[in-house]
Symmetry: C3
């Protein structure tokens, strides 16, 4: 059960209502009347709670569970104890995530602009947006509706944010145009100058960094990550991209839609990623490299050359994962788990 | 001599008092009367200062030193110049560290709550705690006694801190239960949402992150590190753990007691470490991996499989260090130095 | 064209004036009368704009460009379309960078100390310096002339800054002596305690960290980097050094002049670098290692042993790049591009 100091639960909901909301099917019609008051892992769940079974690794937890109902797939349903109340979904993990959002919706922010926030008079703040203590909103900034700008966030001159964005505490944003439903973690730096220098007799002269950062809709950025603005032209984070913590995105990098970049990965200047690229934790992509749509890079890799669409690579220098596998038995299992980063069923 | 703009020295103390405080032995009884006013490296020390000799690499510095007294071990004492005043300790580096804390104790904070701090009326602040300008303490927060919350720190709703904690500037903490004598560096992010998504037709849905971060006693966390909260259940940092700068701890990671995690290392989701595990700088541990108590991971390694208790591994993929050593001569020396990260006798 | 919400252009300037300012030569005398209103990449440039051609990779963009004038070298001039107005420079990229600074100079800060900045009465602020909302300047701090301390920056007791420094938002500085014309990005932590512990029966005792950070002139530090103070003696960043984002500099590291440290690289305790060392992104240097002046470390490397002056190494463990090259064809091209991190002509 989630700690009520930190999380606020809605409900209860009947299993029937839940099934309807997420487009799942009930194992029996009368199961629909069961009232569910929370979600929980198989080994923690109580009779009024709903749990998830999506992998036969968790057969024992399934056998022992006290959960009142279980989300699973049609194919896995036969493993459930006789008489279990089941919610059958094509993607049980997805259904479980969606159910979680029913019980624990992200509350819309209270539309309060704290007296200790510093808002430039030329800034525009949309209806329903909240700005917390110590936040600074610079000249000409345009913040959309229902955004939450947390304490001590600094939004530099001219930045544009869409609607329903959440910017966590102590984050700094400049030189950026940001879409809607974007969530930026704490301590993030967006819009810093790219890293480019020309040597001269007495040292190094900085190349001007005259571009921007453009971020699409539904992008998430994790804690303490850094995204530099372009040199000329923009650094681009496509809609739906998810970046983990401590990720480095250099100047003029271009990410397509729905890329997943795991913790501490770094993408060097002007690298281009297609749509749906997954990059494992602690990996590095060299500058000017192109990675095709759907490619997957195992964790801890160093990518120095272009990767074909759909390519699956690992190692340093990164090579097709089947070649790397020959060198490093057991990698594949680790790889697939690392890049999907399930997180759903910790036990 | 430490710069008095930054450090405030106590003393002087007699060598006899010092010996008693740290349980060391004097080489001669009359040495106990010598007044010591500071500690210093062998090559910097003046006659009224005490220095450290713990390794024969520093024989020349020992021969040339002007130090008034030297901490060393019984076994190394014969290298000291005739007539040296010695303090003999079983662990001379430990004794030197303890003596340092006599001369430079961490001052208890002045119990001042700055007028420009923003404290929610429902928060509880223990006796003797100090809250600096721009800090934000949210609803229901419970801060113990004699804590120091530095400027612009943001402590989210419901967070619990024990006694004698120090939180450095610009750090963000949420969804966390923290023990006593914990020191968190600047720019740290604790309690962010874990990184887990489920693909759906139009993109990626976040798995709810309903867990917490629990941190034991005597934990240190370095600058700009990030510790995510659990998905369900907690991310756990055991008592006595020390984390360096820019370390990534993903959701549901569990560290035992007194683990040492060096700079820029990353531990992926649901990895479990026993007690006393040491992880060298820039290393990566894959998700769901188990590392037994006392294991040591060389710097720059990539750990993709479980490690036995006491295992000593390095490389990528990490292998027993003796195998890796065959490939990479000279590693062992580097490894042992890297993981202990002495720092005591820089010259 | 740079987004006027974020960048403020000066000019126009005649090509003749520009040539004189940067010591370049005009291809024809009458070209000097052309008025230039901006700089732009070859494929973006309009007739009144000046562009750069420095590499035959961009021949097609050169042939198609609408730029009014082009900076190039004498050797490359023959590739330009007949009749082009050229500015000939020994280092065209350097000249282009310098021209950029003519059009987009860094504005001197307005000398305003925000009413919501917290300045200790014992601090000294030089003429023309600006301190923004939420910034905290501690006791005894000495800030030079024409500095800009951005919002929510925290400068701890006793810190010294020279003239013309710029400290971006949400950065924390303590225990540091900093030169002039230094630029520190957002979210940076300077002066934290080094990471060194001694084991004892019940855990680990911190070695005191009694040193400082000293930073020379003209140093740049990127977003979310961390630089720890020395244990005894100082951590030293030589004049002209440029550090990218998320870089880790441990206690007692010493960088010579004009070193270039790319993103997410880490330098462990007491490592010493000469002058002009270049370290590629995501690389790690072990503690106590010495790297000679002019050495270059490829990205993603792990340096465990000393490197000779001028050495060029890569891989893990790092080896001479020609040996590594035999193992990893195609590296050299990637290496040279990665370490120079041009950034000038993204297309």
């Amino acid at each position: 059960m989630a700690d009520s100091r930190f999380f606020h639960r809605r409900g209860p909901f009947s299993l029937g209502d839940i099934a309807e909301q997420v487009g799942a099917e009930l194992s029996t019609a009368q199961a629909g009347h069961l009232m569910i008051r929370d979600i929980a892992a198989l080994d923690d769940a109580a009779p009024g709670e709903l749990s998830l079974f999506y992998d036969t690794r968790y057969l024992r937890a399934l056998a022992d569970t006290h959960a009142g109902a279980i989300v699973t797939s049609r194919g896995l349903a036969r493993h459930a104890p006789r008489g279990s109340r089941l919610l059958l979904a094509a993607q049980p993990r997805l259904a479980y995530a969606q159910i979680g959002h029913l019980f624990y919706p992200s509350p819309a922010p209270d539309a309060i602009i704290d007296s200790a926030a510093r808002i430039d008079p030329t800034a525009t703040i949309g209806l329903g947006s909240r700005i917390d203590s110590g936040a600074v909103v610079g000249p000409g900034v345009d913040i959309g509706k229902s955004c939450h700008i947390a304490s001590n966030v600094v939004v530099g001159a001219g930045v544009v944010l869409g609607d329903d964005c959440r910017i966590a505490a102590n984050t700094t944003i400049s030189h950026a145009l940001i879409g809607s439903r974007v969530e930026i973690g704490s301590g993030v730096c967006i819009g810093g100058p790219g890293f480019g220098y020309e040597p001269h007799l007495n040292g190094l002269t900085r190349m001007l960094q005259l571009g921007r950062v453009t971020i699409g809709d539904d992008v998430h950025v994790g804690s303490n990550s850094a995204i530099d603005r372009g040199t000329s032209g923009d650094t681009v984070i496509g809609s739906g991209c998810k970046l983990d913590n401590l990720v480095q995105i250099a100047h003029n990098v271009r990410l397509g839609r729905s890329c997943v970049i795991c913790g501490q990965a770094g993408i060097a200047g002007s690298a281009t990623l297609g749509d749906g690229v997954m990059i494992g934790g602690h990996s590095a992509v060299s500058d000017h490299v192109t990675i095709g749509s759907g490619a997957r890079i195992a964790g801890n890799s160093g990518v120095m050359r272009n990767i074909e669409p759909g390519g699956v690579v690992g190692g340093f220098p990164a090579m097709p994962v089947r070649d790397w596998h020959r060198q490093t038995a057991g990698l594949m299992r680790s790889f697939s788990r690392r890049t999907t980063r399930s997180g759903g069923q910790e036990t």
